[in-house]
């Protein structure tokens, strides 16, 4: 029964979030601030993880293939793994930890210090004012981060493959281009957009409905990350079946 309560409250919350903003210029300013917080400030961690993921996939694939599997398979595997799963799923999961906990703790703190009540008393739609810029910023920035992750992962795979001698640049490039289906990128970006909405809205929901004090803010932050990751994983399965099955 508790699940239905949360689903209902989440739906009602989203109805408030997606209302037209009260002031366009204030909304745009908040959107830029959120894009900085969610996008630009996540660039470093996304780049770092993508480089290492691409490099590790390259070494692992080289280790797996025997003499009878062509070497260009390394480039092919790095590309497919980064585009289909690692970048569009693992990066959002990492961002659920970084961005999601940040959103939940920010809103939770605003709730327990009555800042959200203050907005409501002034007549401001607090859910829309606080959450809509975060959701749109996530929807815009996370796909860009994922595209960057794909490029960096594949690039790092190639660099490691060539520098360690497991593949030549030509073999890697050939593998990278072979049997390329542009829909794989579309599929990855569709997933990413859905995950971006899940991460931002689920985290905001947990933060917004925090009650109590500092301890509950911490709990909300943890819950936000756990629920966001679980829902991302379930959505991943459903979307994969829908789009590729």
């Amino acid at each position: 029964m508790r699940v239905f309560f949360h689903i209902g409250r989440y739906a009602a919350f989203m109805r408030h979030v997606i209302r037209r903003p009260e002031r366009g210029e204030i909304f745009r300013r908040l959107l830029v601030e959120e894009m900085n917080a969610i996008g630009l400030q996540s660039l470093g961690i996304v780049a770092l993880l993508s480089v290492f993921m691409g490099a590790v996939i390259c070494i692992q694939t080289a280790h797996q293939i025997g003499g009878w599997i062509p070497v260009y398979t390394i480039g092919f595997t790095v590309r497919q793994t980064m585009i289909l799963e690692f970048s569009p799923t693992l990066i959002p999961v990492i961002l659920a930890g970084k961005v999601g906990s940040n959103i939940a703790s920010q809103l939770g703190t605003m709730r327990v210090t009555e800042q959200i009540d203050a907005l409501e008393i002034m007549g401001v739609n607090s859910a829309g004012y606080l959450v809509l810029p975060k959701m749109i910023a996530a929807l815009v920035c996370i796909p860009f981060l994922v595209i960057l992750s794909m490029a960096l992962g594949i690039g790092a795979g190639m660099w490691v493959g060539v520098s360690t001698g497991v593949s030549s640049a030509a073999d890697f490039e050939y593998g990278m281009q072979i049997d390329f289906n542009a829909f794989d990128v579309t599929y990855a970006l569709i997933k990413t957009c859905v995950f971006a909405l899940i991460i931002s809205s689920v985290s905001a929901y947990h933060g917004y409905f925090t009650s109590g004090g500092a301890l509950e803010v911490g709990r909300s932050s943890t819950k936000a990350v756990v629920y966001a990751v679980v829902i991302v994983m379930v959505a991943n399965l459903l979307l994969t079946q829908m789009l590729l099955g």
Partner: protein, 252 residues
Amino acid sequence: MIQIHQVSKSFGDQNILRDISATFHPGKVNFIIGRSGSGKSVLTKCTVGLLEPDQGHVTYDGRDFTAMDRVARKAVRQEIGMLFQGSALFDSMTVEENVTFPLRMFSDMTAEEKRERASVCLARVELANAAGKFPSELSGGMQKRVGIARAIAMNPRYLFCDEPNSGLDPQTSIVIDNLIGDLTEEFNMTTVVVSHDMNSVMEASDFIHFVHQGQIAWHGASEDLLQAQNPDLEAFIFASKLMKKVRQTTSS
């Protein structure tokens, strides 16, 4: 004038407010007093619409707030200023940005006019030189005064103050109390103050509502408070040694 008609509110099987009716007078400081957990904060939240009463209704100068839709409520809320227990200042904004926030959201003032209005409000609470500071750089008393400046920025008709003196020393409390009283008179606001601080009640109240076990157990003018014949109210008022001494002095 704010009127509360037979408002009830429960959480689960706990009846917090039971059929409460009260009237808050314009141009006066109306206190809601009572022990912790008596229901005074819930009553205030039901009055301003942060909580929905289970039954009963609240009217602002004859307008039934409880029956209003979202748009109509928004219009009434722009006539309400509220000072929160913990000030509830936006910590990512400077003092000036906090004060101009409602103006930025709901007025068509130019940037210069907003700044001017903020400086008038901050000067009124004697914080004209704190405009560029962040809330974390201010003392508790200063934060409360910024909260008051923000609350009066839109020239409200109704002012709510939730425990305005909590965490403040007696001298700063008196400054806040006097400020609330002066502003109420100056702007002819209907002011509602929630408090359990008897010093504050004696200092600033015009009318008092005593909430006990979810009901208004006594109400009247502040000058009648010490003579009230209500055992629960007496126990509340004369709980401290200081107030017991006051009673002894007045009775002798």
